[in-house]
Amino acid sequence: MTTTSASTDQPAADHRDPELRLRGLFDAGTLRLAGARDNSGVLWARGEVDGAPAVAFATDATTMGGAMGMDGCLDVVDAIDTAVREHVPVIGLWHSGGARLAEGVLALDGVGRVFAAMVRASGRVPQISVVLGPAAGGAAYGPALTDIVIMSKAGRIFVTGPEVVRSVTGEQVDMERLGGPEPHGRRSGVVHITTKDDASALEQARALTALLGRQGRLSPADVADQTEGHDLTKAMPAEASRAYDVKPVIKALLDAPGVELHGKWAPNVVTTLGRFAGRTVGVIANNPLRLGGCLDAASAEKAARFVRMCDSLGVPLIVLVDVPGYLPGVGQEWEGVVRRGAKLLHAFAEAVVPRVTLVTRKAYGGAYIAMNSRSLGATAVYAWPNAEIAVMGASAAVNILHRKKLAAVPPEEREELRATLIEQQVQTAGGVGRALEIGVVDDVIEPEKTRLRIAEALANAPAARGEHGNIPL
């Protein structure tokens, strides 16, 4: 075979090449570099993602390990400011050892300017970070300040590397264990999405850019009839006492599978971005499979940040509620379940985007309030026919309220009395009837009409967008 192209004689391209990475992010043929390549250590460009314009920058790991000096930092600031001016998403591709040591304080000043630019842009345009290699020191906080952080298999984020850790604390740890996908995906909550390779990391960044950058319009007519694959009850067990995974329910709710954020961190709450009746929405759902669906300190914080991100970017919310309460325990109290739970109350009460709640099975106590209740300003609160809304489960309430009465009867009559009392309790304080009566539930809806009713409620609410940044709570 004869060679017709000179390129086959060249060595294989370095996978760390920033231009190559930017090409992988944008639609083919749409990349337009801003300025010529120099040795600033950063390359930025305009381009398109799924046909919609976006801005992206990449640190150049082929030069000094991607270390950032003042010139490179000013390139990043340019990229972010341009995205804000042009109202388009900005994506950062990170592979950087941090500030350039040779530049000293000048480099620190540059990195600080990058942080300030990110905060200026926060809540104004979507900011997505993709960590493809080590992002250390100053480069660690860059991604952390943005809305969504995606980490590829080789990605690492840490403030101080293994050698410093070893010399100061004596802890023996490698880069992956210290700041790889496992610790950040599961333990720290720094990373929203982990991927098996660079290509899928860029693919997820593209999907999120499309969802947040081109949100679409709600079209309730599109979900008027329940179609194949959108039966929400199919994914739920018939027995009310059986826990289930809420993710298939979310899948049935959305038009097409969405993108879950923080999938392995605080998994008792699920936060997913996806299309619903043609429009981008954020879904927040309790997951009974994990911790029985209880809210706890970490999951409340995770949900709060998601709510504030969606509110700041104008993304309406759908809240699926099946929550037995807050997780009890000394650990929870000491971890700040009160302070971190307060973030969720604050986030929902502050949110101005349309936000609709559906209680599928149960909503008890303080967790009922926190999950976008009527009192926090929900656009609409719906419940399925068998849903229960109460301070606590009816049987638990009876045991407390009627302890003396139960103790007074002979043991053989006790269970019968308990059953009667539970029935009365459900009628007076639980079930959904009382919640309807006092107006904290707007309507009881049939599961097969769920998508339509939620779409109508969202569509009829005035479009709004919170005027605040998205601090990484």
Partner: protein, 72 residues
Amino acid sequence: MAEEIRAEMVANVWKVVVAAGDSVEEGDTLVILESMKMEIPVVAEVDGVVAQMAVNEGDVVQEGDLIAVIED
């Protein structure tokens, strides 16, 4: 790498679904716990082979207790 599955909360072990030596896929139920008046399945988070089952039906597990070990 061995994946240790640990209890997330205090619970009774209601049913043990798999045994050591079984192959499991991500999402497969390993045991069903009873806690907060709910039956809560504990599922595998990785594909692999069950190397060890550390609980029996009727056991009470505390938060952090080992339930199973799965080898990739």
